[in-house]
């Protein structure tokens, strides 16, 4: 790879990444690079290893081989919370929020302060926290629901809330796993708007199936197939790649 030598210029450089589960290689010698302020969409058929790639980057799954560098920092050796502290945020496929807490409390817990035991005991809900929570709630269309129990939100609102919980941490790299899955058409439009707003000064990796949505937001697209990069480039280029057509239509 020629890009290896210039690894430092990328926000994220994934090189030779492999993970095997009892011999099955879910991700196989994968390499890709994400630029500053780029929105990268990863697509691919089911079982291509898309979610596993996010799991590997955020430390949920440990790599068998290969390296993941975030701003020159090796992530494969760090623990999950250290990766978050480094500036990587990740949204899960199913909305992962705290159902028993209110929207306000959900956002407050994600506020990046008082993250150790003592800090959490002494944490004060001061003006800074309250202002920030309101600011984010406004952004994710939930400013009127701050005191609602999160379990009572609609599916789409839960997805927004989880995005909000990431935003309050202001990550430099944001990873979203199917952010519009299960959303109505109206909600999708709002989400696309939201993503366009929040991706201004950070890099984003999105996994998505909805091609229209992909075309709306993506700078570049990476197509995964059987744990490897099948094709990479602009949406047009990828859509016209015969290999991609083969994979999507051929089975």
């Amino acid at each position: 790879m020629t890009a290896t030598s210039m690894g430092k210029d990328f926000v994220l450089s994934v090189e030779g990444l492999t993970v095997s589960f009892d011999g099955f290689k879910a991700v196989n010698d994968l390499s890709f690079y994400v630029d500053e302020n780029e929105i990268r969409v990863i697509i691919g058929p089911n079982g291509a290893g898309k979610t596993t790639v996010l799991d590997l980057i955020c430390g949920r799954t440990r790599a068998t081989e290969g390296s993941i560098k975030f701003r020159g920092k090796e992530l494969t050796k760090l623990k999950e919370h250290q990766i978050v502290h480094a500036g990587v945020g990740r949204k899960f496929q199913n909305p992962s929020i705290y159902e028993d807490l209110t929207v306000f409390e959900n956002l407050e817990i994600s506020f990046p302060r008082g993250r150790n035991v003592f800090g959490a005991l002494m944490f004060k809900r001061d003006k800074e926290v309250i202002d920030k929570v309101h600011e984010i709630a406004e952004l994710i269309f939930l400013k009127d629901d701050l005191n609602k129990q999160a379990a009572l939100l609609s599916h789409g609102q839960k997805q927004w809330l989880e995005i909000g919980m990431l935003l309050i941490q202001d990550p430099e790299l944001l990873m979203l796993d199917e952010p519009v899955a299960g959303m109505s058409v109206a909600e999708r439009k709002l989400t696309a708007e939201l993503l366009n707003k929040i991706t201004k000064d950070r890099s984003v990796i999105v996994i998505e199936h909805d091609m229209q949505f992909v075309a709306d937001i993506a700078n570049r697209v990476t197509v995964l197939h059987q744990g490897k990069v099948l094709s990479e480039g602009s949406m047009d280029k990828v859509q016209n790649d015969p290999k991609v057509k083969e994979v999507y239509l051929g089975h």
């Binding site: 035991v117 959490a120 919980m165």
Partner: protein, 379 residues
């Protein structure tokens, strides 16, 4: 500062804690003889364990079936000090080795084992009562939680630890007093703990410590750490990927629960006058879980009331119908789990509170209806 106080102790909670304090510190002492009051004091020492379980199990989702271990360790530390004082060379002059506890003499020990030595000092004992169980809890919980062992596995392992410690205490008679435990405790720095007056004083000390522990637990519950525990119980991964080292919080809450239990154990020894392995093992440990479940696993005060109620029932039943008690206890386990997973506190907030509210409203029927407040089963 007033904002801080109000957020940690809202008016409702403060009234409820005051009511409990009045009940145990005024009403009980006025209405009971010292024998009954001493019994209540014994029950209240279990309430410390139930309190710890509310935080650790109700909030943190960590079910420990080995709380008896910490109760026992705290109790044994206290008992060792008292036993040494009761075994002064003058008191034990008839033994073949005077100056060591009687059970050691019976087991042909001729010198005090090394780990008994520091318990000659009261200040060491006071520290050890908390420190020994907490350090033990710390070691166990670090080993388990750092490796992400939780739920059912944690329950089984803590249960095994309770079994191990019981067998060990019973097996090592010469060092521990064996199955009888450490008995015949008399004085604390010369103060006779067996008199009625001492029992009164110890009862009030126990109450004061319990209220203090409730306030500490309330502080933790109302802090961000309390909300984090609830969040972790629901979506542990989300908390982890929000930048928290989840295991540290679990370790903390487990150690805090151990500290409460140990305090209860020490108060038990002081009030009841002995400590034995029958309060350490699997059976008492699970019984303490049911105290907490009956009161409501999410309610600090519920745990205290649950403990009092179950133990009162146990005393009444096993006095008059000893055969029925186990049936009753068994049915209680099944009934609470199946029908009332939130225990008395849950029943109170779903049935009693709305009725009270209705009744209050009908009293003020002339006024326009107030917006109904949401029921909070967690107070």
């Amino acid at each position: 500062m007033s904002y801080g106080l109000r957020s940690f102790l809202p008016k409702n909670d403060m009234i409820n804690i005051l009511l409990l304090a009045v009940l145990i510190m005024v009403i009980f002492p006025l209405s009971m003889d010292i024998f009954r009051l001493n019994l209540v004091g014994k029950y209240l020492s279990y309430a410390f364990v139930a309190l710890g379980l509310v935080l650790c199990w109700g909030y943190g989702g960590i079910l420990s079936l080995g709380q008896g271990v910490f109760f026992g360790l705290g109790g044994y530390c206290m008992a060792m000090f008292l036993k040494l004082e009761a075994s002064s060379p003058e008191n034990t002059a008839i033994q073949s080795t005077p100056g060591i506890p009687d059970f050691m003499d019976w087991n042909q020990l001729t010198a005090l084992p090394w780990f008994w030595e520091p318990f000659h000092s009261l200040s060491f004992t006071m520290i050890a009562i908390i420190a020994v169980p907490v350090i033990f809890a710390f070691i166990v919980s670090v080993a388990m939680f750092k490796r992400r062992v939780g739920g059912v596995y944690f329950a089984i392992i803590t249960q095994a630890i309770a079994a191990i410690l019981t067998i060990l205490i019973i097996g090592q008679q010469g060092y521990t007093g064996g199955v009888n435990g450490i008995t015949d405790l008399r004085t604390l720095k010369g103060w006779d703990i067996r008199t009625d007056e001492a029992k009164y004083i110890l009862y009030f000390v126990c109450c004061a410590l319990l209220i203090g522990s409730i306030l500490v637990a309330q502080f933790v519950r109302k802090s961000k750490l309390g909300r984090l525990l609830v969040a972790m119980r629901d979506k542990e991964d989300r908390v982890r990927f929000s930048g928290y080292d989840v295991s540290n919080f679990k370790i903390f809450i487990f150690c805090l629960a151990a500290a409460f239990s140990a305090l209860g154990g020490a108060m038990f020894t002081l009030q009841v006058g002995f400590m034995s392995p029958s309060f350490v093992g699997i059976v008492p440990s699970i019984e303490m879980v049911i105290f907490c479940a009956v009161g409501g696993r999410l309610s600090l005060l519920g745990a205290v009331y649950g403990t009092l109620l179950v133990n009162w029932a146990k005393t009444v039943f096993s006095e008059s119908f000893p055969e029925l008690w186990l049936f009753g206890l068994g049915a209680l386990f099944i009934g609470v789990v199946l029908a009332f997973p939130n225990g008395l506190a849950g029943v109170y907030s779903t049935y009693v509170e709305p009725m009270l509210a209705k009744w209050l409203k009908s009293l003020k029927s002339a006024r326009p209806p107030m917006p109904s407040s949401t029921a909070d089963s967690r107070s």
